[in-house]
Amino acid sequence: MLTDDRHLVERARAGDADAFGVLFEHYHAPILNYLNRMVSDRALAEDLTQDTFIKAYKSLPKTDPDLAFKAWLYRIATNTAISHLRRGKIVRWLPFVGEHETRAERIDSQVTRTSDISAALDQLPKHYASILLLRHYQGLSLAETAQALDITENAAKLRLFRARKAFAKIYEDSPLSGEEDLR
């Protein structure tokens, strides 16, 4: 977070395009990376990033002075991505993982492989993917994550728990996991 974020946001809210430009430079790459992970399509992620910042620029004058800009920006990005995916009907919904159905013992160290993480993220319901990405990929605090998703911190904790369970379940059922069994 920029040390003078608040000052820049204040100026940008007043219509200072230069201030907004500084904010854009700071958050441009993180938002792009986040959206890229959300939609798994670099070109699309770029379009959505553009949409996100234009929305932010247009809406900024209407925000409260105490706006948490970073979380707010991620909220716009998340909603932009979800809206786009829903329009394309490519949001993937999966049944919630049963409490005691996970055979997590089958998850081994290969889960850390990037491709596995990416593949599992692709299969997660998007609201689970988004909270995991915000929390651990983008490094938002729990409070920021909750703000970005417009939910309470307790809701964020529970959603993170469910997301982790869902991730474990997906990985458990993945072909890779099956290959492990065959060995």
Binding site: K55, R86, W93, F96, E105, L160
Partner: protein
Amino acid sequence: MISHQEAEILTSARQDAPLDPVVERELQAHLATCDQCRAFAAATERLTAGLRALPTTPASPRVRREVMEQVNAGRNPLVALLTGNSSASFGTTLSTLAAVLLIGVIGWFALDRLYFDSNNGNENNQIAAVPTEVPANVFSATSTLEATDAPAPTATSETKATETPSPTATSEPTATTPPTPTATLVPTSTTAPTATSASTEVPVDLTVPQETAAVRSAKEPTATATEKATVAPTTVPPTQTPAPTPTQTPEPTQTPAIEPMDGSTTSAEDVTATSESERTTAASTGEAGENSPGIELIDPGDGTEGAVEDVPNETTNTDAIEPIGSDEEATPGVGGSGDTTLVEADQSEAGTTSLMDASVSYNMIDGDPSNHLGLTAEGRMIFTNVPDGATFTTSDGYTMRSADSQPGVVEICTDSYCEPALETPEDGSWQQDVPMGVSGTTAYVLRIYSDRSEVIVGTPQGTQIVDPAVVLDLGPTSSPAASYDSDGTIYAWLPSGEWLIMSGGDAYTTQSGYPNPTLVRFAPSGNDGPLVGYFSGNTLVVAYASDPGSALLTLNTEGVDFDISPPGDQVAVIRGNDIVIYDMQGNEKVVYEGGDSQPGSVLWLRSGLVWVDRTSGLLFQIPDTAP
């Protein structure tokens, strides 16, 4: 000692914040003895590490260029136009250019007039008529360009500015936008001719979810307004009829405003409200059966027999909901107690409803998901084919049921054993006793003979029903298929074509022309008394619970499920893949168009209408359906 679930929750929690040392030790102790939890802990830690290690990509020069172009264009539209920046602010810059041209033309004529004044004052009257035409033409041409050429991102503001005079235009929010000095130069009388055509090009505000915009563009605002004029909204419950708001009728003399790109654009909330009003279309007016096929009207007793009023046929999206006992604030549900933390609907940054939070699987609800969603007496959601028809428990803990080992015998069970509840008659014509239900400490049993049936009421104590009394002689009948308990009253359909109703230690029957009811649902707190609804073949019947056979409303529909609103003034029916709400006059409103989804069950809570999607396995709530 912590449970497996607690261990998993703690395992997740410590990824976000260190645990209390004591709790951490307890968790470690549990993990040391639990392979499953230890594996989950390892997987969670690897997931976290894996996410942190995901590679990042550099910033995009294209995004930087395009965003900053638009930002800078917003700062100075004229410069943007002159420098060829025509992305999102193209419409704005065109408007600005038009205004500049207008100033130039007026200025030219002013100079011209000064010239003639100084040379030949008699020329004045001949030339004076010209300026009033030229600016008008200039602006009219500009308006056409804006309506047809303005690109999506900022088209809203410019197009709206030209739409304002039309009563059907959706531009009312901009009417309150302070016009720029340039805009004030625009003659108000020149905008009307272009308003109608422009209004069909409903632009999309950037802050509005696109699915909303899609709905908007699918409607013809002019047609909508025409239909609205014929609507009689007072005949429809307020929850079904979004009343036209004052902002929907802009002042015809409003000066069009050219909006700067300074954030003073139409708010998303305003646009959404407009969108919803546009999505509202009036149903055709006519008699029952003519314009509303499949609807049979029953006289509700208020003189409205046969009348099908115009009602909005509004399609809305659905929100996802959080599960019972979940992570959000409590929302009151039917029953008023128990697990009522049911509904959460995320809000997008613009305050519109987000559809992103589809996180609740119906697998989290007890019961068989192939059954119908219902509520327990404690207000807990459950899948059940109410009732199980076999076991009933009194308020003081005695259980009444059919005895497994002795066919036809009703038994009462304590914690440890069961015994026959009633003495078996010596009468050789006795065939069986059927437990019908309990209400408080009162038990109801149907005793069937070969030639008659009796309703017996008594109080289970020990393993007996004490002081049993015959309260109703039913004549010849056979055992009902099921009985239903609602708010202390027990209902059963008898094969003889009657409803048997048992309450307050008494019983009575009422005839019904709607045989073999299935999926019986109640609205125990209806404003005019408890209601009951049920399917009889392909007919959905809604009636006062006190007289289930006298329908208030019948609908010819092959719905898979339905539910009555808690106040009892509306009925939601799953019809095909759609969800339709009917008022008690039979007027319908489609509140969800299923598409790829497959609604399987619907339940009306005080917080709104909840439905099960068989395709995704998730629960959703339809907004604005709280009774």
